[in-house]
């Protein structure tokens, strides 16, 4: 009788204890890591590579970094929810293993991988994502990324659905929505929240912070920073990717970023063997390095056109408010599309390719380069240089040649103007010199004004005190939407006539309409048709006369394995977790 009673008690206890144990075990065992499996050839673990940086990073705070170098280093230390594969130019899952879009295209629900940890071992969950986006959107933080998240005039709404699910609500459907996430690093709430609440976020994660104050989801974490010399990153043991053989990435033990201030110095050090990877250098240096390729165990790659496009444009601003009566008089020439078409027809693009880039560039007649295979309108005409056609266009626009060869307009004023260039960019200066010579054959008297970059920007965007300028832009992504501000007439970087209250010309109004349309059209084929039409208008009305796009030239030592450079930034390090040392 007592035994049965004891058994009953034991069973009773068991009924108490078992659920308790189950609860306890549920709490202590974290969900197993859902690592991403990558597709690359397997590499060898260990080793270190050295990469040159042209300037020092300004900060290691992902929410505040605006310059390229900081972003290059930060990219190795952080990860985003959805990533753009630089080879295919399409989006792929990153920290978010999957996502779904609502029917109206306004809600994106992302599912986080479970069981992932930051580089300091702390777990990642939706709270960190919420916190990160809160930071990016906070107006007091002044994050350069904030504007990416303002769609249709309203910032996106971020909601946590559960520990591993987040929903993003947009004010309107947005075709490039997935691509926004690329580069938006997820920050650790456990390390930054206090600093943020204390109002000190501007001083968080600067270069003077110690390595143990950082935590990220990237393949590497900060090991050491020596001011003026180098920054060293070491392997992140908690990185969330593994290769097909089940080995956790990255393969490399360490990356060293060496500060080498000029491109020539970088070339010299690469040749001497101090650095392993050389990213984006000029065609002249390519020729020099080419000679020693096999002898010094490195290889150079010419990846074809990138996303940079260089162009000449004229001042089409409304100058009534700013003064500059001299320039205003010349605008009667600049504003006539036939004048711009004549200028474009007279430019010897082939010589630009040959003399400025030693053949390693592609001529452009539109704003989208051949490097952007997804969006280029291949049906655009590529007329060769024709001085006759130029002269005909000028004649139809009322210009004529005087006896001594000078071109004069309908009032008899000789055509002369200046082209502004950036003194520190030798390629654009050279292009301007060649253009000046070409235009002299039409009878135009052109001279070149070389200014230092910020002085030039001041003239272009503040004082509007310029006549023509040679500039270049690099689109950061293949998708046309991130560059909207250049093509919208109200845009701040609508270089030739920024911030218009209403479109100054019919074709600018048309471009406005089309750009807004492509922004919300979700079907790629329909979007492409719309954007093709934009490219046609630009190529016909020539607000910018596109000249050339330099090829992407990179080099790497043979010992670097899995080196697959792409023509979109970051050219050589986009797959840094897959690189290894042979």
């Amino acid at each position: 009788m007592a035994k049965v009673f004891q058994l009953r008690r034991a069973m009773g206890a068991a009924w108490l204890i078992l659920p308790l144990m189950a609860a306890l075990s549920a709490a202590s065992v974290a969900p197993s890591e859902e690592l991403m499996v990558t597709d690359n050839p397997q590499g060898r673990a260990g080793g270190r590579i050295v990469v040159g940086l042209r300037t020092e990073p300004k900060t290691l705070n992902p929410a505040l970094a605006a310059d390229d170098t900081s972003r290059d280093v930060i990219r190795c230390m952080t990860a985003d929810l959805i990533h753009i594969d630089r080879e295919t130019l399409k989006t792929e899952p990153a920290l978010a293993k999957s996502w779904s879009v609502s029917r109206d295209g306004r809600q994106y629900t992302l599912h986080l991988r479970q069981g992932l940890r930051f580089s300091d071992g702390q777990p990642l969950n939706a709270d960190d994502v919420l916190f990160s986006f809160h930071l990016y959107l906070d107006e007091k933080v002044h994050s350069p990324q904030r504007d990416l998240l303002v769609i249709g005039g309203k910032p996106v709404d971020v909601l946590k659905l559960d520990d591993y699910t987040i929903r993003f609500d947009l004010a309107q459907p947005y075709a490039a929505a997935e691509r926004i996430f690329d580069g938006l690093a997820i920050l650790p709430q456990h390390l930054l929240e206090d600093t943020y609440r204390g109002g000190n976020f501007a001083h968080a994660w600067t270069l003077s912070a110690l390595p143990n104050q950082f935590a990220g989801l990237g393949p590497f974490r900060l090991k050491e920073y020596v001011p003026g010399q180098r920054i060293v990153l070491e392997k992140n043991p908690y990185y969330w990717k593994k290769d097909r053989g089940g080995n956790r990435l990255p393969y490399l033990e360490e990356i060293v970023f060496l500060f080498v201030p000029s491109e020539d110095a970088q070339v010299v050090r690469f040749e001497a063997g101090d650095t392993d990877i050389l990213s984006r250098f000029s065609a002249e240096n390519f020729a020099v390095l080419e000679k020693e390729q096999t002898a010094r165990n490195y290889h150079l790659y010419d990846l074809g056109a990138g996303f940079e496009y260089n162009f000449l444009f004229f001042n089409l601003n409304d100058l009534a408010a700013k003064g500059h009566p001299e320039i205003a008089k010349k605008q009667s020439w600049f504003q006539d599309p036939r004048f711009r078409q004549a200028v474009s027809a007279s430019i010897d693009r082939e010589s630009i390719i040959r003399l400025v880039y030693r053949g390693r560039a592609t001529a452009l007649w539109g704003n989208v380069t051949p490097g952007n295979k997804l969006w280029i309108d291949s049906a655009l005409p590529h007329p060769a240089q024709s001085l006759d056609r130029a002269r005909e266009l000028l004649r139809s626009a009322g210009f004529s040649l005087k006896g001594d060869g000078t071109l004069v307009d309908a009032h008899g004023t000789p055509v002369e103007f200046s082209i502004l260039t950036n003194s520190s960019n030798s390629q654009r200066s050279k292009m301007a010199t060649l253009i000046q010579d070409d235009l002299s054959k039409l009878g135009m008297n052109v001279h070149i004004v070389s200014l230092e970059f910020r002085a030039m920007v001041d003239r272009l965007l503040n004082t509007y005190d310029y006549e023509a300028a040679v500039m270049g832009l690099v689109t950061s992504d293949a998708d046309p939407t991130p560059e909207m501000n250049v093509w919208l007439s109200s845009g701040e970087t609508h270089l030739w006539h920024p911030e218009q209250t209403k479109p100054a010309t019919e074709w600018e109004a048309e471009i406005d309409r089309l750009m807004q349309q492509q922004m919300i059209t979700l079907d790629y084929r329909k979007r492409k048709q719309v954007y093709d039409r934009v490219q046609e208008i630009i190529a016909e009305k020539l607000p910018v006369i596109c000249l050339a796009s330099p090829n992407i030239l990179v080099g790497a030592k043979d010992r670097v394995g899995n080196f697959r450079p792409a023509n979109l930034d970051p050219y050589t390090l986009w797959n840094i977790e897959q690189l290894f040392v042979r």
């Binding site: 050295v50 300037t55 020092e56 300004k58 900060t59 505040l64 605006a66 310059d67 107006e139 002044h142 994050s143 350069p144 904030r146 504007d147 990416l148 303002v150 501007a202 600067t206 270069l207 003077s208 001011p227 003026g228 010399q229 180098r230 060293v256 060496l258 500060f259 080498v260 201030p261 000029s262 110095a265 010299v268 050090r269 040749e271 001497a272 101090d274 520190s424 230092e452 970059f453 910020r454 002085a455 920007v457 001041d458 003239r459 965007l461 503040n462 004082t463 500039m471 832009l473 950061s476 991130p482 560059e483 909207m484 501000n485 250049v486 845009g491 701040e492 970087t493």
Partner: protein, 320 residues
């Protein structure tokens, strides 16, 4: 003592004036640091304005200058927009590197100039002297940029010297002596280049100073007494010739500092030079002002030291 105190007070005044003037000049040039961001289509002007106000770039000139002065007194030397840290931290490391380079180069230059100049003066008019004259003239007319480029070129072609930087990778693992050797190896080329920029001028000055002294009566008298010529050269002639040379020393430090900017930039030596050039192009206001101040400090100190040496060397000046 009173002399030193007076000089120091005047030096402080000079530095204040320099800082104010460079501040004013910096405002003349159009554009500021954040103008580079305006060309980025993905960042709105509002955000840029917000960032600008956070760094205090929208406040009046007087306020900004006042802030900077206060910061100098605290030892922080203002805030660098580009590096996101106080300028003081940057200055300390970079100044040390520049002083190392300038000091080594000055020593090398004088070590070369004095014997060669003296020998040239002694053997004046001979073929050796003329050859020396041609060599120094040629070096004088060669632009610095060219000299540095040729050195860089040699470095790469021969591989005997590192092509830039101050330490090799993994130098942290070396022992003390190893580290010194490593730095010395990296120091050689920039030091050589920098020394070559002033050595020819120094040689000529030493030579002309020595010639003047060698022709003076007391040296002739000494020679007449039968004293050996080397002894005459160093024990009699040189101390007198040293006068103009000592003031030249103070002066050469100044030229050295400005030439060092170029060599540091071209040979990637992490000193004040690259910092200044980058800050000028980036319009990083306080860095430029602080670096200019720093180099003015070196200039003033150099001149002061030269004056003191002159004081010590020449009893005639002490009497004044």
């Amino acid at each position: 003592m009173k002399y030193i105190r007076r000089r120091l007070a005047y030096a402080a005044l000079l530095l204040a004036a320099i800082s104010f003037l460079s501040f004013v000049l910096l405002q003349l040039a159009p554009g500021d640091y954040f103008d580079a961001l305006r060309m980025n289509p993905q960042i709105s002007a509002q955000t840029i304005a917000g960032i600008r106000s956070e760094y205090g770039l929208d406040r009046s000139l007087a306020v900004r200058y006042g802030h900077w002065l206060l910061s100098v007194l605290k030892g922080e030397f203002g805030y660098s927009i580009a590096y996101n840290t106080s300028v003081g931290t940057l200055l300390w490391v970079r100044s040390r590197n520049t002083l190392l380079l300038a000091g080594a180069a000055t020593t090398l230059a004088w070590l070369l100039a004095i014997p060669i100049g003296a020998w040239s003066a002694k053997n004046r008019g001979t073929w050796g002297d003329r050859a020396c004259g041609v060599a120094t003239s040629t070096l004088l007319t060669t632009p610095d940029i060219l000299v540095f480029l040729i050195l860089l070129f040699l470095a790469v072609r021969t591989g005997w010297f590192p092509a830039g930087g101050m330490v090799s990778l993994g130098a942290g693992q070396l022992d003390g002596w190893g580290q010194v050797q490593d730095v010395a190896l990296h120091l050689f080329l920039p030091c050589m280049g920098l020394a070559l920029t002033i050595t020819p001028a120094l040689i000529r000055h030493v030579r002309s100073a020595m010639i003047e002294v060698l022709e003076s009566p007391f040296v002739r008298a000494a020679r007449g007494h039968g004293i050996a010529s080397t002894r005459v050269l160093f024990r009699y002639a040189f101390p007198v010739a040293a006068n103009p040379l000592i003031s030249l020393l103070g002066f050469s430090i100044a030229t050295m500092l400005s030439a060092s900017v170029l060599v540091e930039v071209m040979l990637s030596w992490p000193g004040l030079g690259p910092l200044l050039v980058e800050a000028i192009f980036a319009r990083d206001l306080y860095v430029v002002m602080s670096v200019v101040m720093m180099s003015s400090v070196f200039l003033v100190v150099g001149n002061l030291v030269a004056d003191l040496l002159l004081f010590a060397n020449d009893p005639r000046i002490r009497v004044e």
